[in-house]
Amino acid sequence: MEYYFHQYGVLLIYTVLALFVPVGMLLVSYMAQFIKVRPSRPTQVKLSAYESGLPPFSPKPVMFNFRYYYYALLFVVFDVETVIIYPWAVKYGLLSQQFGFIALGAMLVFLFVVTIPFVYAWRKGDLEWIYNQK
């Protein structure tokens, strides 16, 4: 227990420093403004969004392709799958010594169940970026 406490204590110190380093870089760069090293002369043209030199004409909010949502949904399904596979994989050496191929069979059943929506999405054409409607 004490071991974990010390380990995660050091990790916490590291985390704080890892957050502090970029913040400190930004602060130093910001401070340079006050000793007249870094210029700060904003104009209206400079402050407009850079859209390849043209005056910005984006509608707000921007519209985008709905296909991104398909990938997000599929990602949720298979990321959960990964989370469940990991503990099984770590203990697989012990499991297979005890249960033999049953340990593999149990995971194959799970993989098969998860593969059904994948095949369905593939057949439906959700994995294609260019959707050819027949």
């Binding site: 071991y3 010390h6 380990q7 204590g9 050091v10 110190i13 590291y14 985390t15 420093l17 890892a18 957050l19 380093v21 970029p22 913040v23 870089m25 930004l26 760069s29 340079a32 870094r38 002369r41 402050l47 969004a49 850079y50 859209e51 390849s52 910005p56 984006s58 509608p59 707000k60 921007v62 519209m63 985008f64 392709n65 991104y68 990938y71 997000a72 599929l74 990602f75 298979f78 990321d79 990964t82 596979i85 990991y86 994989a89 770590v90 203990k91 697989y92 050496g93 012990l94 297979s96 033999g100 593999l104 194959l108 993989l111 994948f118 994995l127 294609e128 970026w129 260019i130 050819n132």
Partner: protein, 423 residues
């Protein structure tokens, strides 16, 4: 405390020299008298942790400066030109000059930007990259911490960088940046699945998630036992760090600088730092997991072997970048879902069968397993490649009859859609 002091050599050195009459240091490791009086062990612990983290983070920053210089020299070699050679010997200080310059540039925040998110995004981008290095063993006893969930920690922390990209893109208030951010998220989340699943085979052989444990379990480097896993992981990590051939978030000809479009000064510098540090980080993961980390002949210290393997992987990444053109977004996403995902499933099943047959392999059996895995890997890569290629040809032929759809472009503004559609 015994375990942690025993394992982590640098921490032990600092802690035992600071804390006064700590029993562990005196009795087990023979340190005589520290700087602090007795009762200040907590202060020694805090200071030692701080110094350890300070050394590692500064090491990363130095490594990034060096790797930018090294990569630019290598690009020069590949393109038959000199590369940076003015500042310092062989142009060694040109990255330092760049870092100083970028610090004193004017910082422009666009008027449409969401100021808070715009400032947070670079910090969120570089933070996970620093966290990768906290669990990687860079030699015997040379690490910050060796978590027993190290690999899972890395995977969870790195998935934060996708969030940083989309925050940066959204906060800019620029349509080009938003398209770039959306593409980045689509690619990052698609490749996270093959990346995570390709490590499952390694976990089955190693039986632990701790990176130090994985290195110790490698009697031969896991690249020989897990060729398919290495292949998938290498491609997926190229996609995760936005390297060519998967760098369409920063496709200059389509999106300008992508989500970096409106960033300037130190914020741009931090994004740049994060990108190169991520390259080093993913090479460090590849070195640790697949190339047996710090292991090597005893004639040189373990840290040297780790660095040597790291540099070899970095050069391989630069080589890929110099050799391959950028892929289209449909090709990239198809490769992730229809190619690499299936390869990882094949790898998991093949590895599981081998581990069941030889639970406690001798050296000869390990080589037999490696041979079988290569025999599985090469045909399956070829078959999947053929399937993907045939699909691509078919789409082109069928596309003649259909409405030609501009590949890789996102939805146009409603005012423009009618003009394009009318012809």
């Amino acid at each position: 405390m015994t375990d942690f002091l025993y394992e982590n050599v640098i921490f032990r050195l600092i802690y035992c020299n600071l804390s006064g009459s700590s029993d562990k240091c005196v009795n087990e490791y023979g340190y005589v008298q520290g700087i602090f009086p007795a009762g200040f062990e907590w202060l020694a612990f805090l200071l030692a942790g701080f110094l350890l983290a300070f050394i590692f983070i500064n090491g990363i920053l130095g490594a990034v400066i060096l790797s930018i210089w090294g990569e630019r020299r290598l690009y020069g070699r590949f393109q038959n030109r000199l590369g940076p050679n003015r500042w310092g010997p062989w142009g060694l200080f040109s990255s330092v000059a760049d870092a100083i310059k970028v610090m004193f540039k004017e910082d422009v925040v666009p008027s449409d930007a969401d100021r808070l998110l715009f400032n947070i995004a670079p910090i969120l981008m570089v933070f996970p990259v620093f966290m990768i290095f906290s669990v990687i063993p860079m030699g015997i006893g040379t690490f910050v911490v060796d978590l027993n969930v190290g690999l899972l920690f890395i995977l969870s922390v790195t998935s934060m960088s996708g969030l940083a990209v989309v925050i940066a893109a959204w906060a800019s208030g620029n349509r080009i940046a938003i398209f770039s951010g959306l593409r980045a998220v689509a690619v990052l989340i698609s490749y996270e699945i093959p990346m995570a699943l390709s490590l499952v085979g390694v976990l089955m052989f190693a039986g632990t998630l701790s990176l130090g444990g994985i290195v110790e379990q490698q009697k031969i480097p896991f690249i020989l036992l897990q060729p398919l896993g290495f292949f998938v992981f290498f491609l997926a990590s190229l996609a995760e760090i936005n390297r060519t051939p998967f760098d369409l978030t920063e496709a200059e000809s389509e999106l300008g600088a992508g989500y970096l479009n409106d960033y300037s000064s130190m914020k741009f510098g931090i994004f740049f730092l994060a990108e190169f540090a991520a390259t080093i980080g993913s090479s460090a993961i590849i070195t640790t997991v697949f190339l047996s980390g710090w292991k090597g002949p005893d004639i040189l210290p373990s840290q040297f072997w780790f660095l040597l393997k790291l540099v070899i992987v970095l050069i391989a990444i630069v080589w890929v970048r110099m050799s391959w053109p950028r892929l289209r977004i449909d090709q990239i996403l198809e490769l992730a879902w229809k190619g690499l995902f299936e390869l990882t499933l094949i790898n998991i099943v093949a590895t599981a069968i081998l581990v069941t047959i030889w639970p406690n392999p001798t050296m000869g059996e390990i080589w037999i397993m490696a041979g079988i895995n290569w025999l599985v890997a090469i045909p399956s890569v070829i078959v999947v490649g053929k399937v993907l290629r045939r699909k691509d040809n078919k789409t082109i032929q069928a596309g003649r009859d259909n409405e030609p759809y501009p590949v890789g472009t996102e939805t146009l503004a409603p005012s423009l859609v009618n003009k394009v559609g009318e012809k």
